[in-house]
């Protein structure tokens, strides 16, 4: 710890020293007034920046500014929200007055899919976040850049696993199947991998929120579309940027359990004579650093940007983390009198990851705190020799957490390569033909090994190894034509037509083996395992290829910059649909009117109303669902020996088609008070039908109890409201404050589940309620105990069970007799919570005080509940005596019953979190010097959570991976079920907090 303080202290010294040494160069002072070009009213809080430097200020309440010019200053850039920025030369005069014309914000370019639009022309619900508004801190996952920045976009990451992903939901749930996450498009490549792009290289993230905007992406647009655009070079001066940070991360919250002393008192029979802080043994303070260098520029028709990103990230687990290097080149060349633009982009990523064993966290919480980490050296206990000296007791679901961390490895090696080329040719004025081809290649190889003397997943296998590789190809070929023509008086007509051909081809292999003569063979020597000779090793592989082909068109009309109209259609087909349903049409129409152009409303600078409707789809999660496939079904004892037997593995469904979502969106954009108050409001209502789902069918006549089909009797109706609003304050002392608040709320209702119990959901039903065992807490002892319910006409995410009343005199749970019949039975069960939030809030605050900038970002989710699994299993004293007890405010020593699930374990989990706070200082640099920009910052990530939730992380659990026990994997570890949000399961990485020091340097 002491070393780290010194490290940080040196950084801080560097910050201060740089700031002080450079400040002395300022010389001449100029002043002036910035006004609205039309009204001549002064603009308060306008930005004035010396071009090529980071020196600048803002105007006061009278629109006046004063600025000390550094040496060699030649130009001023003046900008103001809602106005076009302008650049003026610095002459001899010390007074420079500038007037701005309105429209800068409205001229902002928004990426809408197969093209861009000006913000003022957009008729759908599209949010664009530019690089300068991205979240700061130690961000390794591109979408975390916009976490909380887009109303209606929820990005939930539970715990601080550096290799862990996030759950992404746009406007809640739009499907019950596997495609609940938005479609990712990077530089036009549909279905691109987020791992192929480094957060530092992203110029903007544009989110197509509603159906009318997303419908241009047809059969895969139902869960929304996120368009990521990488930074490009621009004509002008060449520049070099270097960004780096170092961060220190530590555990912010773990499961509250009894100390060894408390444990001895509570469980006198289980004292093993030691005192061990298991959490401390399996975690560390993690030090990470990341570097990004980017070269960009342009000359004579060529523009380039090349960048390299290096990340060396540690997790707080004993040895988890990753190292990655990513390179990117974006190159464009104009030719033929600038009529032809050719572009090439290349990106390569190499990432080596060591994955955490979340079970080490889990058992660190629940393992006996009086047990030693190791058997004594001279122990005669046979388990000492058997398990490599680590203290173990042979019990179900009971593992020494330190042994998990040290006797198991799980590594991944991920390579991503993206190559793309694009040609745009202007055939004649207004008509551009484009063609693009890109290929994304992802190769992953994973290996894991459990030591010879490991108990966790080792048992008596004497060393077990598994390997698995995935190779995925995504190739996309597209041709588009775009025609823009003006007509009449200030009217514009734009026509887009295109063809898209996409091929996805994935190939995977896997193998497992056991019984090795040395741990050093590990998974790299998997062939050496002796189980291969015994026929106990396994080898498998598979290939899945599918194509999506589409024709699409779009018309945009702009009447006098006041009335806007958009209509589009995509006719799309996929090989994954059944024979009878290969092609679908996904239409959309939307319109907008700028009311502020029609009526003069006092104080209103802009007011625009938008209405749109669009249909999108979702495609089946795998190929061949329409056909009967035969797989090996054990071996048949035939004439004295075993021969492989083949039987069907599913009921084929040749009628399988896409899901359909129809969405109506009404939006209002506004700018008030000299465009200081800006915002937008959205209302949407969407209805999804024909879910692709394993539908219950009778056996007989069907072979299997479920068929992948379009669930006909269920619809999902989701309606919500989003509001984003910001205000810019500024004063004459170079101080500004820009708070921005995002609010969103939605309700997701599952409609028309048959109340007579004949819904085609493949689960138990009772009185129109559907229960799935999948939602049970799990072993030990809590299987077959559904904790959640699906009911027609009601919200998704309902928790179900008895209502806890009190602890009985005999130490049992006493439940409320809800129906008052004097008997506690299943009729007294009811909805006892909901896993989805009522509303979400994001509050961003940006301050500038001269050279200092300060930003903090608060994020909150309100009204959701979580099932606290740790408490359910380990709080009652009737839990297994070997287990430590979860001791929170709810702990009750009189509760001696065995664990059971009921409302006592459903907790309110509303929270507000300080996701990030960043304090930056921009050093004044001499103009004309070799350095153009130097900013140093200190940042804190996850500084606090304010919540009543007693568990580790109150974040919304948007999907449920299912239970896991005894070293097994969760049923749907990699494909969690979105129908059951709200279950805080036991295998979670703990919450972490980071402090970051960083630098942005430009030259």
């Amino acid at each position: 710890m002491k070393l780290k303080v010194n490290y940080f202290a040196k950084w801080l010294l560097l910050v201060l020293a740089s700031g002080l040494s450079v400040a002395a160069f300022a010389q001449r002072t100029i002043s002036g007034t910035i006004t609205d070009g039309a009204t001549k009213e002064p603009l308060i809080g306008a930005n004035i920046l010396v071009v090529g430097t980071s020196t600048g200020t803002i105007t006061d309440f009278d629109g006046k500014y004063e600025l000390k010019l550094p040496d060699g200053a030649t130009q001023l850039e003046v900008s103001y929200t809602g106005y076009s920025s302008t650049t003026v030369a610095i002459g001899a005069s010390n007074v420079i007055d500038v007037s701005l014309s309105a429209g800068q914000l409205l001229d902002e370019v928004v990426v809408v899919g197969y093209g861009t639009q000006k913000q003022r022309e957009v008729t759908g619900s599209v949010t664009s976040v530019k690089a300068e508004d991205f979240n700061g801190g130690n961000i390794n996952d591109p979408l975390q850049l916009v976490q909380g920045k887009v109303a209606g976009l929820s990005i939930s990451k539970v715990g601080g696993d550096p290799n862990g992903g996030s759950s992404i939901r746009l406007r809640g749930l739009a499907t019950l199947g596997a495609n609940a996450e938005p479609l990712i498009i990077i530089d036009g490549l549909i279905g691109a991998s987020l791992e192929s792009v480094d957060p530092n290289d992203i110029a903007s993230v544009d989110v197509l929120k509603d159906g009318s905007a997303a419908a241009i992406y047809g059969s895969r647009g139902s869960s929304g579309v996120i368009l990521i655009t990488t930074k490009k070079g621009a004509k002008g001066n060449s520049s070099v940027e270097y960004n780096a940070y170092v961060s220190s991360e530590s555990i912010a919250k773990s499961v509250d359990v009894a100390s060894a002393e408390e444990f001895k008192r509570l469980r006198p029979g289980s004292d093993r004579g030691s005192s061990t802080d298991w959490l401390d043994l399996v975690t560390r303070d993690a030090i990470s650093h990341a570097h990004n260098i980017a070269l960009s520029g342009g000359f004579a028709g060529t523009a380039y940007r090349a960048s390299l990103n290096i990340r060396n990230i540690e997790g707080v687990g004993l040895n988890d983390g990753f190292r990655s290097i990513n390179g990117r080149l974006n190159l464009t060349q104009k030719a033929l009198n600038d009529r032809l633009t050719l572009g090439v982009n290349l990106s390569a990523t190499n990432r080596k990851a060591t994955y955490a064993f979340r079970e080490a966290f889990r058992y660190a919480a629940t393992y006996n705190p009086t047990a030693p980490a190791f058997f004594p050296e001279n122990s005669t206990n046979p388990l000492a020799a058997k398990y490599g000296g680590y203290y173990q007791e042979e019990n179900f679901d009971y593992f020494n957490p330190l042994a998990i961390s040290e006797q198991s490895i799980n590594k991944g090696d991920i390579k991503e390569l993206v190559m793309g080329a694009r040609a745009d040719y202007q055939l004649f004025d207004g008509f551009t033909a484009s063609m693009s081809y890109s290929v994304q290649r992802e190769s992953e190889s994973f290996g894991s090994f459990y030591d010879k003397d490991a108990y966790f997943r080792g048992f008596n296998t004497d060393g077990s190894a598994s390997i698995n590789t995935n190779d995925r190809l995504n190739e996309l070929f597209e041709v588009t034509g775009n025609y823009t023509v003006g007509f009449g008086n200030n009217n514009v007509f734009t026509l887009l037509g295109g063809y898209s051909w996409q091929n996805n081809d994935s190939y995977s292999t896997n193998g497992s083996n056991a019984d090795f003569i040395s741990n050093d063979l590990s998974f790299y020597g998997i062939g050496a395992g002796q189980n291969l000779d015994r026929g106990r090793a396994a080898l498998g592989n598979g290939r899945d290829a599918y194509r999506v082909i589409a024709f699409f068109g779009r018309v945009n009309l702009n009447f006098n910059d006041t009335y806007f109209l958009m209509a589009s259609a995509r006719r799309e087909g996929s090989t994954r649909f059944g024979e009878g349903n290969k092609w679908g049409i996904f239409p959309a129409v939307s319109a907008g009117v700028t009311l502020s152009n029609l009526f003069d409303i006092a104080g209103v600078n802009n007011l625009k109303l938008r209405v749109g409707y669009g249909e999108t789809g979702a495609i089946p999660p795998s190929s061949l669902l329409g056909q009967r496939t035969y797989v090996e079904r054990g071996s048949f004892f035939y004439n004295g020996s075993f021969v492989p037997a083949y039987g069907p593995d599913r009921n084929p469904n040749p009628d399988l088609k896409w899901e359909t979502k129809g969405e109506l969106n009404v939006g209002l954009d506004f700018a008030l008070a000299d465009s200081r108050l800006t915002g937008s409001f959205e209302y949407y209502n969407r209805r999804t039908r024909d879910f692709i789902y394993p539908v219950a069918v009778p056996v007989p006549p069907n072979q299997a109890a479920t068929t992948w089909a379009n669930l006909e009797d269920v619809e999902l109706n989701n309606s919500g409201i989003e509001l984003g609003i910001g205000y810019l304050f500024g004063d004459k002392n170079g101080i500004s404050w820009e708070p921005r608040v995002l609010f969103s709320t939605y309700k997701t209702i599952l409609d028309t589940v048959a109340t007579d119990g004949t819904s085609k959901f493949p689960f138990f039903q009772s009185g129109g309620r559907v229960f799935s065992d999948f939602t049970s807490p799990g072993a030990p002892g809590l299987n077959n105990l559904p904790t959640m319910v699906v009911q027609g006409g009601q919200e998704i995410g309902q928790m179900w069970g008895y209502t806890f009343d009190r602890v009985g005199d005999d130490g049992s749970f006493v439940y409320k007799d809800l129906n008052g019949d004097g008997v506690i039975d299943s009729d007294d069960q009811s909805v006892i919570g909901n896993g989805l939030p009522d509303f979400s809030l994001g509050i961003n605050n940006s301050f500038t005080f001269g050279n200092l900038d300060f930003n903090f970002f608060l994020r909150g989710e309100f009204g959701h509940d979580l099932i606290n699994s740790f408490r359910t299993f380990y709080e009652p004293l009737g839990s297994r005596s070997i287990e430590n007890l979860v001791v929170t405010e709810y702990f009750n020593e009189n509760l001696t019953a065995t664990p059971a699930f009921n409302s006592y374990y459903v907790e309110k989990a509303s929270f507000i979190a300080l996701d990030n706070a960043t304090l930056g200082y921009t050093v004044n640099l001499p103009a004309g010097g070799s350095f153009k920009k130097l900013r140093l910052y200190v940042s804190g990530q996850n500084l606090f959570f304010i919540t009543d939730y007693s568990g580790v992380d109150p974040s919304v659990r948007y999907a449920d991976p299912g239970g896991s026990d005894n070293g097994g994997f969760a049923t749907r570890e990699f494909n969690p079920d979105p129908l059951y949000p709200g279950h805080d399961r036991r295998n979670n990485y703990f919450r972490t907090r980071s402090i970051i020091l960083g630098v942005n340097l430009g030259f």
């Binding site: 004892f637 006549p701 002892g781 077959n784």
Partner: protein, 522 residues
């Protein structure tokens, strides 16, 4: 410039057609890689056999936990899964099944249905397939007819289990032409269907007993199944069929192909395929025929060290104290308390690791009178919620090979010769309680177990003998029902009514198929 422009226009158009695909630009046919579909399977004789095999491999789920076998065992007086502290509650399912309080939503009841009808469906599908292959002239008609007949008898076994467990079920005899929602048929109709299927097809089965008929339906397996059907006919239809049962048993006995093994446990060894009592078995195997998870289901967590198992057991299934004590200590089938080196139906008493060291259960409850040293006590302190971890004698009947994986390789005897003898004895006894041959047959089985002859047969001692002989072979529930004892009280079970003699139709099936009728009383 105009020239250039049209040149590039053409070039773009040309490029558009030189797209990177080999098919037409709207082709959406699915490619199949490394998979068998109806388009390419089955086409050769080897593949026909693989297709046929899926009927028999449908049996491999038989001995799994949480399906038909668990239901048959836990609902009887020979087996239970107590609620051991925080473990094995599982929504109360195993408590309810043991206490005969099962409901249509029990997971095991749905799993059992899907397992059995899965077998029926596979048989129907293969019958359709072979009918088609004959119609297309792709297989020898005579050979195909033999296969089809054999599969129909196997299907009759699946239906027999359905008849026994659920009673009133749909009858579906074709896969391709089955109704979308086949209706419930009465138990008597299901009985009649099975009877006619066996009468029509058993006579054509192979009469050999060798490797080619091992684990297959040969003539004698068919006859033993017929005997089972007739022995229980009174339960199924109200009309007894003792003579028909005797006749079917005689076919097996008089063949001279089967005999009682001198050592009872020859039938349950890891390598038990040579037993002369095997009339029909499921040929479990560690790799080829997986699903026999007995060691997982019954052994204590720490027992892993006794057998050097490759996975940790679950500490679930154990026998009832009354049942354990129904064996004389002299009964070779019982085993020896605290001595694992002598095989027995039960593993009871102090437990040891493979190297002879005493096993320690560090998690033993403070109130366990034996403390931490692992001891399987036949006494079970309570059903729930706090049965002791070490409570209950465990199943030791099937050999558990050293270093076994969760999938044991012991073949599971479904129809065993000593059962044929006792079935015949029982049918004779029903006709004449003093029948001498019946007594001799029972005593033949008792003699092998090293226990003295019965002087006479009674309802009770015959039921008890069947219980001891066929422990953990999946017949106990049926025997209790046939002997009128299923509604009796036993450890942790109150008396239960006659509607409990068949299980409910699973709620999920009733939901999916509106023409299914729920059994009375549910």
């Amino acid at each position: 410039m105009i020239n250039k422009s049209s040149f590039f226009g053409k070039a773009l158009l040309m490029l558009a057609f030189l797209t990177p695909f080999t098919q037409s630009c709207t082709n959406l046919d699915e490619e199949v890689y490394g998979q068998l579909t109806d388009a390419n399977f089955p086409t050769t004789e080897e593949q026909f056999i693989s297709a046929l095999g899926a009927t028999y491999t449908s049996l491999y789920g038989w001995a799994n936990h949480n399906s038909i076998f668990s239901l048959q065992e836990i609902s009887s007086d020979e087996m239970m899964i107590p609620h051991r502290g925080a473990d094995w509650f599982d929504g109360g399912q195993w408590l309810r099944v043991h206490r005969h309080e099962y409901t249509p939503t029990e997971e095991s009841i749905n799993n059992g249905w899907n397992f059995l009808f899965g077998g029926v469906n596979n048989c129907n599908r293969v019958i359709d397939l072979f009918d088609q292959l004959v119609a297309d002239g792709k297989v020898d008609a005579a050979q195909a007819a033999a296969f089809i007949g054999e599969v129909k008898v196997l299907r009759a076994l699946f239906y027999y289990w359905l008849l026994d467990a659920y009673g009133n079920v749909p009858i579906v005899s074709s896969f391709s032409t089955a109704e979308a929602n086949p209706p419930t048929k009465s138990r008597a109709e299901v009985y009649a269907f099975i009877e006619s299927e066996l009468n029509a097809n058993v006579p054509n089965l192979e009469r050999k007993k060798d490797g080619s008929t091992y684990a297959r339906m040969n003539y004698y397996a068919g006859k033993a199944l017929q005997a089972k059907l007739y022995l229980n006919a009174e339960v199924y239809t109200g009309t007894a069929q003792w003579d028909a049962a005797i006749a079917a048993c005689n076919e097996v006995i008089n063949s001279g192909l089967y005999s009682i093994e001198s050592d009872y446990f020859t039938n349950f060894n890891t390598n038990n395929s040579g037993s002369n009592e095997n009339v029909f078995v499921i040929p479990y195997d560690e790799q080829n025929a997986t699903g026999f998870n007995l060691a997982q289901m019954t052994l204590h967590y720490s027992s892993q060290a006794t057998f050097q198992l490759q996975a940790q057991p679950w500490n679930g299934y154990c026998t009832l104290q009354e049942f354990y004590e129904s064996y004389d200590d002299a009964d070779k089938r019982k085993g020896v308390y605290g001595n694992q080196s002598v095989r027995g139906n039960f593993l009871a008493g102090p437990q040891f690791a493979a190297d002879g060291t005493r096993l320690i259960d560090a998690g033993a409850e403070a109130n366990d009178p034996d403390g931490q040293p692992l001891t399987f006590t036949p006494e079970i302190n309570e059903h729930f919620p706090n049965a002791l971890r070490q409570a209950g004698a465990r199943v030791g009947k099937f050999e558990i090979a050293k270093g076994a994986t969760p999938d044991l390789a012991n073949d599971f005897p479904i129809l065993r010769y000593s059962d044929v003898l006792l079935m015949k004895a029982e049918a004779l006894f029903r006709k004449n309680a003093g029948d001498a041959e019946a007594l001799a047959l029972v005593n033949q089985v008792r003699a092998r177990a090293g226990v003295p002859d019965y002087a006479s047969l009674t309802n009770d001692n015959l039921l008890a003998e069947r219980g001891r002989e066929f422990f953990y072979e999946g017949w106990r529930r049926q025997d209790l029902i046939r002997f009128g004892a299923y509604g009796d009280t036993w450890d942790f079970k109150p008396a239960s009514g006659p509607t409990k003699r068949i299980f409910p139709i699973p709620a999920q099936q009733v939901n999916a198929n509106p023409r299914l009728v729920q059994n009375p009383g549910y």
